[in-house]
Every structure is written in structure tokens, then in C-alpha cells.
């Protein structure tokens, strides 16, 4: 027999919802909340989601399980009074410089202050005097805007197991802090930006480098080229009225040209290059008895994580540079113009900002812009994005394959590598190029393939807690994989910290990651070339420039090495 409860007079069938908040959402009632996120543990701190039962008792909807026969109301005089008081108290401790805040228009506190008609705050406020931490290349922390909902802490610890930040001190002195309240740059932070992706206010935001790029664009003596990562094209559309996951690459290229970029390239060709080198490296390691399992190296937050926490496994990581760095190195090396050349990369990622600044990459990428920044720049430039014509990227870095485009989803690098590695090993054309076992938004995926006389066991992992678990297994000698793909952000780059902000309601109501990934897989399915080694531009580059795959020149430009993080 079905179980029901009554929420605001609506009969709601209980189907294993973990709390009343989720059940209410299903029947179309939005209970306000700051500290609740479906992917994180329940914290119950903000008290905004309180409901009232028949006897006038209050409880929090996020931490209360639905029970058969329960009758509750979510909007009563008592609750409105409490919610307004909570908001007033939060606002009293909040730096309210909304007009100059990056989260303006997307801030939950701002939204609720408006919705609940907060007209004045009776308490003195000095939150704006609390200084911000801009030490990181990836994120900016503004503790004066923190409402202590703890989402960042839970994300950093539970999902990412990085542990850069935590709650410190107590009572009115409580705050979110690194160890010894030091700069975030000196903490174990890997720059994944997932904290910013869940922060309901502007207390953690992605660093903005748009002004530096505008400056280069406005300088007639500078040639500005740009590359666009796969996940960006399926993440940006919603900001301009497109459906989640719709591929808007063509319009984005036009927009960038209008903004003054001289050359627009596609990171996908960098991804194809990565596959050529990486699959070659994998085959080499398997056949010559090199270090296995081999980990992918595309994700800079994962690299930081490994350098800090798994220095003993660094030799297991592919020496391939990430697609961004590979393409940038190639673009810079092939540039023959007279003008100063600035290369920009548009990434779904905040950790890429840090990667670009690594010394060994010689500043090949001058600036990294997140998807968020590009959205803002398009608006700033006054472009009607939806009405734009579509255009193609510039030669010689425009041709790509379906293998390159799926890099943006968890499992994409693995699938792309398998397409090339299997054909290389067997010397035969694949019947189907789709390796569906490694697709999907699950945090851990495994598969085993028989390739000629070789057994290839692979794992695909997203989210650094899952990465930690698999690294522990590898360290203990309990893992018999040959190849492991690791992406720091759950679901891969489509869910990168630099993608447009997705509010907590949407996060629980819609599979936005899956839709973005689907956008990439659809693009792949519609392409005639779906394997990196079929990319003519890539063959051209090897024939005329790099020489053979894995050769000397390729190594010089396309490979790197890793160093354990120095501990102070």
C-alpha cells in the first residue's frame, strides 16, 4: 500500500524520498533552503526549510524523513516570521555590496531577501571589512559574504576528499578556514572550483581574468588566438536561452570573432593529439612492461591532488600534457606572425587557470577564461548570442573527430583512447566505435576488453574522493587495471567549476551533467570521423612537424613531468 503525507493540502505519495524537502519539490512546492544540496550530506544549519506540523511544532524539512499520514504546512505566519528573522540576521553579517558582486543575480541570499520582502536590517554591519583571499590562481574567497552554510566544506571533504577548508572556531567567531587560517594558495586546494559551484552567495567565486583579455583584444599590436574546450560548447547555451546541453559551438565562434579574437581554434584537436600520444604511451607501457596502471593526465586538479597526496604514484600518470597545453604549445610553436601573440583558452574549469601558470608550460597559454567569464564578456560586448550565425574555427586547428569532443564527459578520454589503442593493437577497423560501458555520470565505472591476445581492464573515475579510493587500491596493489581515467569534477568537465552556475534547486531537479554529456555524445555520433587517428589535421601535424608519434619532437612539445608537492 502506498504511503502518503499532506504538504500544504496536497497529497504527496512517498517513494523513498530522503527528506521532506525533496518530496515537496516533487509536488511542486519549493521550500527555501541555503545549506541543502542533494549531493552532499545533510547539515541542517540554515533553518530556512522549517515546516510546521498540525500541532504547531517545527522541524527542518531537509533533515526530516517523510512519514505516512504526516500533515504539514510550509508557509505559515510563524514560519514567515522566523524566515525573515533568519534572513535579517544573515544579512547583518553579510557584506552586501551586491552591485559589485560576481554572484549578483544568481545569489540565493539576494533572491530570498527579495522574495521574503526584507526591507531593512536593524543590526550594524561590518562584514565588508573582512578581507578577501585572492592568493589562488583559481578561486577567490570573500569570507565577508559567507553565510556558513558549509556546502563548500562538505564538497571539499566529502566529494573531493581534498580537505583544504573546514569549519574553525566556535559560536559567533565560527568561520570557514584553511589550517591556521592561512591563504588558500598554501593549502591542499587543487583549484577544482566545486566549492564555488555550490556556494549560494559570492563567498567563493572563480577568479576573473576577463579584463586582461579585453586589454589584449584592444591592442592592435597583439594577435590574439583562442581555443575552446569541448565542455564549454554544451555548458554555455543555457545562459542565452538554449536548452541544457545544446551544442552552441558555431555561435560561440562567431561571438568570439565579433569580440576581436583573430583566430579561433578548437581544443578538440588538442584532444586528438592527446589521444595519439597517450594511446601510444599506454601500448608502450603494456608491451614493454612500463608502470601500470597508467592514469590520464588531462585534469590539472587531479594532477595537483596526486602531487600532494600520492607522490609515489606520479610515475603512473601519463606524461602527456593536457589537450589545452598540447594545442597551446603547438599554436605558439607554429606562429610565424610579426605581432606579439597572446593565446587564450576557454575552459569549463578553474584549475586550468592554475595549470596555465605552471612554470614548465612557459606561459604557452597566456590567459584562461572560464565559461562563466566568456558568458559575461559576450554580454558586455552587447552580442545577441541567440541570433548569431554559426561559423567554423580557423585552420589549421579546426578539424577534429568525435573522439576529441567527448573529452568533456567522464569516460570520454577513455573511450577516445580505446578507439585508437584497439585499432592500433589489432590493426583492424573497429566495428562499433562506441564503448558504452565507460559512459554515464556514475562516479566509478569499470570495463574489461579483450583486444587480440591482450586483456585490457580499465576504470573511469570522477570526483576526487573516488580517485582517492582507487589510488589507495593501486597503492596497496589491489587493482589490476591497465588504464584509469580520472576527472576531478563529478561527471567530468561538463560539470567543471568554471561552468555557468547551476543553483541548488536545478541541481536536484535536473540531470544537467547528463544532458551536457549527451550533447557531446550526440555531436560525436553525428560525425563522420570519430577516431583521433583519422584526424587529417593531426596527421598533417605529425607528417610536417612532430615526426612520429611518441618521437623526440613530439616529446619535447607534448609531454611533461610531475613533481611531488613541496611541504613547508
Amino acid at each position: 500500500m502506498s504511503e502518503y503525507m499532506i504538504i500544504d493540502g496536497i497529497k504527496a505519495e512517498i517513494n523513498g524520498e530522503k527528506n521532506i524537502l525533496e518530496l515537496a519539490r516533487k509536488v511542486g512546492i519549493e521550500i527555501p533552503a541555503f545549506c541543502y544540496d542533494p549531493e552532499l550530506s545533510i547539515y541542517g544549519a540554515c533553518r530556512m526549510c522549517m515546516f510546521e506540523d498540525e500541532r504547531g511544532r517545527l522541524d527542518a524539512a531537509c533533515s526530516c524523513k517523510p512519514r505516512d499520514g504526516m500533515v504539514i504546512k510550509t508557509n505559515t505566519a510563524k514560519l514567515r516570521k522566523y524566515r525573515k528573522m533568519i534572513l535579517e540576521l544573515l544579512l547583518a553579517n553579510h557584506c552586501r555590496d551586491c552591485t559589485t558582486c560576481h554572484m549578483s543575480g544568481k545569489c540565493r541570499l539576494q533572491e530570498f531577501a527579495y522574495k521574503f520582502n526584507i526591507e531593512g536590517i536593524r543590526f550594524p554591519n561590518n562584514a565588508c571589512q573582512i578581507s578577501s583571499d585572492s592568493s589562488s590562481n583559481s578561486i577567490i574567497r570573500a569570507p565577508g559574504k559567507c553565510i556558513l552554510c558549509g556546502k563548500c566544506v562538505r564538497m571539499c571533504n566529502e566529494v573531493q576528499s581534498v580537505g583544504a577548508i573546514d569549519y574553525a572556531f566556535r559560536g559567533s567567531k565560527m568561520k570557514i578556514a584553511t589550517a591556521f587560517d592561512g591563504d588558500i594558495a598554501n593549502s591542499p586546494c587543487v583549484g577544482c572550483g566545486q566549492c564555488a559551484a555550490v556556494c549560494p552567495t559570492g563567498a567563493i567565486v572563480i577568479r576573473d581574468d576577463a579584463d586582461l583579455v579585453w586589454k589584449a583584444l584592444g591592442d592592435d599590436n597583439v594577435e590574439v588566438s583562442v581555443q575552446i574546450a569541448p565542455a564549454v560548447r554544451v555548458g554555455l547555451g543555457t545562459e542565452f536561452g538554449f536548452n541544457e546541453g545544446e551544442n552552441v559551438m558555431g555561435k560561440l565562434v562567431t561571438a568570439l570573432k565579433e569580440m576581436g579574437f583573430d583566430k579561433v581554434y578548437d581544443t578538440n584537436i588538442g584532444a586528438d593529439l592527446t589521444i595519439m600520444e597517450e594511446s601510444n604511451e599506454l601500448i608502450h607501457r603494456i608491451k614493454k612492461g612500463g608502470k601500470l596502471p597508467m592514469f590520464t593526465s588531462c585534469c590539472p586538479a587531479w594532477i595537483r591532488f596526486a602531487e600532494d597526496k600520492y607522490p609515489d604514484l606520479l610515475d603512473n600518470i601519463s606524461t602527456c600534457k593536457s589537450p589545452m597545453q598540447m594545442l597551446a604549445a603547438t599554436v605558439k610553436a607554429l606562429y610565424k606572425g610579426e605581432k606579439k601573440h597572446v593565446h587564450v583558452a576557454i575552459m569549463p574549469c578553474s584549475a586550468k587557470k592554475d595549470e596555465a601558470k605552471r612554470e614548465k608550460f612557459n606561459g604557452d597559454v597566456d590567459f584562461v577564461l572560464s565559461t562563466q567569464e566568456v558568458v559575461r564578456m559576450i554580454r558586455e560586448h552587447g552580442i545577441h548570442f541567440a541570433q548569431l550565425q554559426e561559423s567554423l574555427p580557423d585552420v589549421p586547428f579546426k578539424e577534429y573527430t568525435g573522439a576529441g569532443v567527448i573529452f568533456g564527459a567522464s569516460g570520454g578520454v577513455m573511450e577516445a583512447a580505446l578507439r585508437t589503442a584497439v585499432e592500433t593493437i589489432t590493426g583492424e577497423k573497429l566495428g562499433s566505435v562506441e564503448f558504452k560501458e565507460v559512459r554515464g555520470m556514475e562516479g566509478v565505472k569499470e570495463a574489461e576488453y579483450n583486444v587480440k591476445d591482450l586483456k585490457v581492464k580499465v576504470a573511469v573515475v570522477s570526483g576526487l574522493k573516488n580517485a582517492r579510493d582507487i589510488c589507495d587500491k593501486v597503492r596497496a596493489g589491489e587493482a589490476d587495471y591497465q588504464f584509469i581515467e580520472i576527472m576531478s569534477c563529478p561527471g567530468g568537465c561538463v560539470n567543471g567549476g568554471g561552468q555557468p552556475f547551476v543553483d541548488a534547486f536545478t541541481r536536484s531537479a535536473m540531470d544537467y551533467k547528463g544532458l551536457r554529456a549527451k550533447g557531446l555524445y550526440n555531436t560525436d555520433a553525428n560525425m563522420s570521423n570519430r577516431k583521433s587517428h583519422d584526424n587529417m589535421s593531426v596527421s598533417y601535424l605529425y607528417d610536417n612537424y612532430f615526426g612520429e608519434v611518441g618521437g623526440h619532437k613530439a616529446h619535447e612539445l607534448l609531454h611533461t613531468h610531475y613533481e611531488p608537492k613541496k611541504k613547508n
Binding site: 578556514a177 589550517a179 591556521f180 611541504k567
Partner: protein, 157 residues
């Protein structure tokens, strides 16, 4: 850092177990030995117990009992619970601070001899106003007897 002796921590880990839930007990042992929590404790325990440094910092700053600042050889706690307060504990505190050049913010003398702090209740209300010197109770104090105690400690030092 290389000269730091981790024996105290190793012993505590041995005694209480190499697990997250032992953290507070281990920190207490460290605090008891050093009279505060030296910075070296944090990365070491983080590594050993598999807890982030930020979390250990959070625990250490949550509880009033843990101190991140070095304390004096003599730690004096002036009780300011209700019973002591009404029997004039505040003048005792003020006299001690004046004698040692300390304040609410500056709790420890520069020569690391004395630390003066307040405590909510020592549970020695019958001896109010009371203070403790390195956990030993001194009953029915006056500002004068407190200053005399400091002077005798200084002379014997």
C-alpha cells in the same frame, strides 16, 4: 621541524588508536605535554590519522581547552564563576595582570613564565574566590595574596 620530537604523539596514537575518533584524546595528550599545541602536531597527525589539517585546526579552535599559543611555565586560572565573582575575583585577576603586564589579549609573559586566564567555574565554590596554579587549587585568595604568590614563584625561579 626536523628537530621536533614526535614521541609524545606516537605514544598517544599508540595508546588511543590510529583512528579519527581518537583525535581529541591525542590532542589532549599533546596539550598536556607541551602546554599548548605546537604547529608541528597538525601535519603529523593529519598524515597519521588521515584527517585534513584544516579539520584538526577546526577541532583545536572549537574547544577552549586547546591552545595554539605557547603557554607559560606557570599557568594561573582565575575562577570567574558566580560564587567567585560575587566574592571579588575580578580584582584578583586585575592585580595579577597588572603585576605581570598582561591583558585579556596578551595572556602570557614574554619570558614564557606566566600565563593568566579566566575560567568559568573550578567547582571549588566553597573556597571562593579561588585560583589554580598548574591545576593546583589556591583557595580564598585576595589581590594581595595572589601577587605575593607570583613574587615567591619569581624568587624561586
Amino acid at each position: 621541524m626536523s628537530t621536533f620530537d614526535y614521541t609524545v604523539l606516537d605514544n598517544a596514537i599508540e595508546q588511543f588508536g590510529n583512528k579519527e575518533s581518537s583525535l581529541i584524546s591525542i590532542l589532549q595528550s599533546a596539550q598536556e605535554h607541551y602546554r599548548y599545541l605546537p604547529k608541528e602536531v597538525f601535519p603529523y597527525l593529519a598524515e597519521k590519522l588521515g584527517i585534513s589539517e584544516a579539520k584538526i585546526y577546526g577541532v583545536a579552535t572549537f574547544y577552549e581547552n586547546f591552545s595554539l599559543e605557547q603557554k607559560g611555565k606557570y599557568v594561573i586560572k582565575v575562577c570567574d564563576g558566580t560564587a567567585c565573582h560575587v566574592r571579588h575575583s575580578v580584582p584578583i585577576l586585575e592585580a595579577l595582570r597588572k603585576e605581570l603586564g598582561l591583558s585579556e589579549e596578551k595572556k602570557t609573559t614574554d619570558d614564557l613564565m606566566f600565563t593568566v586566564e579566566t575560567v568559568a567555574c573550578l567547582g571549588a565554590c566553597s573556597s571562593a574566590p579561588a585560583i589554580t596554579l598548574n591545576n593546583e587549587i589556591y583557595p580564598t585568595m585576595t589581590p594581595e595574596s595572589a601577587v605575593a604568590l607570583i613574587k615567591s614563584l619569581k624568587e624561586n625561579a
